[in-house]
């Protein structure tokens, strides 16, 4: 592979981002290998979401470089629409298009952004709905689905663009506990299929099971990173221990 990114699929070097007076990210270095899953853990406001949004340029970095798939995306010259077509993102609040049916949600971007034919887009959308077990909901509007179903549709909508990288931004945080399982199951399948993913999550048992690497984000810096076992079972840093203890009290480990 090219020197660009040093062989990593995603490579961040010294990434900083501030909103007005608040420095949200401070000198983040992070490498993600192809077909691997990196989980970002950390308290709310630690910068996980902002980090994900910088990777598909929904936010502009103030300093540092980000390389995705051998292409430096932070030099201001990249075609953002084209870049985003290969990076899927799923949000905490699903953000499905409420005025479109499930099927239309899945076919809009392939047709309009990538110029796929209607028939191809429909075929692919139906196949994806089959994969997530929601074929019978194809013609429903999002508001008629449960939160778990909506989030699965949102994942399918991102997958419809056949991305090479998926960014998941606390996708189970808005869900009732009994609906979390179906969404995580889908993500687990994705990981098994070899999808490269960066996942911001509070689900520690999920991170332990699926992640190749876990990064603990603390006030805009990566406090500690390592294998799930290292970070979740034997953290070296005091801050990591404190964070995990708090999560444990919340009953989510």
């Amino acid at each position: 592979m090219s020197a660009n990114g040093n062989g990593h699929f995603v490579s961040l070097k010294g990434v900083s981002k501030r909103f007005d007076n608040l420095e949200v990210l401070h000198g983040i270095d992070l490498d993600v290998d192809e077909h691997s899953v990196v989980c970002l853990i950390g308290a709310s406001g630690s910068g996980k979401s902002t980090l994900l949004r910088c990777i598909n340029l929904l936010e502009q970095v103030d300093a540092g470089t980000i390389v995705v798939d051998g292409q430096t995306i932070t030099d201001g010259k990249v075609d953002v629409n084209r870049l985003r077509q290969k990076i899927g993102i799923v949000f905490q609040a699903y953000n499905l298009f409420p005025h479109m049916t499930v099927l239309q949600n899945l076919t809009l971007a392939p047709r309009k952004a990538r110029g796929a034919s209607r028939a191809d887009a429909l075929d692919r959308a139906r196949a994806l709905l089959h994969r997530i077990g929601l074929e019978e909901k194809a013609d429903e509007f999002p508001d008629r689905l449960s939160g778990g179903q909506q989030q699965r549709v949102a994942i399918a909508r991102a997958l419809a663009m056949e991305p090479k990288l998926m960014l998941l931004d606390e996708i189970t945080s808005a869900l009732d506990p009994q609906l979390i399982g179906e969404v995580l199951e889908l993500v687990r399948e994705l990981a098994e299929s070899g999808m490269t993913m960066i996942v911001a999550t509070h689900e520690m048992s999920f991170a332990r099971e699926v992640a190749n690497k876990v990064c603990f984000l603390d006030a805009g810096v990566i406090g500690e990173e390592g294998t799930p076992k290292e970070i979740l079972s034997a953290p070296r840093e005091e801050r990591t221990r404190e964070f995990l203890a708090r999560v444990l009290e919340g009953g989510r480990l």
Binding site: I87, A109, K112, F141
Partner: protein, 234 residues
């Protein structure tokens, strides 16, 4: 009271006034349909321009803002006289065709400013996360606008759009002042000829009967959509 009823609600004069007022009313209808068609398109374009991001689009944004400021602030009657005055500068004869055109231009100029603001409110009411989701899929700014933001924005502003449309319908009578024989003018002739105001009542009834079905129709489409897209309350 008897005097009042005789002056405004005289059945015989009602019947006599209907044909005259109706002939004029057709002009109002035509004017309103033509003007509204232009208004809906131009106002949408202005609202989109006004929301364009980036420093490069700033002059366009300013122009759009200046337009709404000027034409929302100027009384319609004044604009009507100015358009008419401007048109007479070239000394063409004032046929009813040019009067119609001038009336339409004045209505379009003023109502486009109002309707731009209605669209803008609708566009801003769509949560930014919708646009973000659309952009994150690789859609361009204009595609996100066209397929995700505008469909949601426009359906939200249908009631206020209808409100302005009704305002426009009623304001079509103002063109009587530049000499076009529309419904109000017809009623005035009648009033002068018969010394009775019932023709005015007839005119009012025409306008009211025009707006009521429109209002019910709007209610109906909104309710249908709710039924289709919204979850049933549990």
């Amino acid at each position: 009271m008897g005097q009042f009823l005789h002056e405004f609600f005289n059945p015989l004069d009602f019947l006599r006034a209907v044909p005259t007022v109706w002939n004029g009313f057709l002009f109002n209808l035509k004017l309103m349909v033509v003007a509204e068609a232009f208004i809906l398109v131009l106002a949408l374009a202005l609202a989109i321009v006004r929301g364009l991001p980036g420093r490069g689009a700033a002059p366009l944004r300013w122009l759009a803002i200046a337009y709404t400021d000027v034409f929302r602030g100027t009384p319609l009657l004044l604009v009507l006289f100015m358009v008419q005055g401007f048109a007479t500068l070239d000394y063409v004869g004032l046929s009813s065709g040019t009067l119609f055109r001038n009336g339409a231009i004045a209505l379009i100029l003023v109502y486009t400013a109002y309707v731009t603001e209605v669209y803008r409110a609708g566009i801003e009411s769509v949560h930014p996360s919708q646009r973000m989701a659309a952009r994150s899929l690789g859609l361009s700014y204009m595609q996100a606008m066209r397929y995700v933001v505008l469909p949601q924005a426009i359906r939200r502003v249908v009631p206020p759009l209808l409100n302005d449309f009704i305002g426009l319908q009623k304001d079509t009578v103002l063109i009587t002042v530049i000499g076009l024989t529309e419904a109000l003018a017809g009623a005035n002739f009648f009033q002068n000829d018969y010394a009775n105001f019932s023709a005015l009542t007839v005119t009012a009834v025409f306008f009211i009967f025009l707006t009521i079905p429109l209002a019910r129709f709007t209610d109906h489409i909104i309710k249908e959509r709710e039924k289709r897209e919204r979850a049933t309350a549990v």
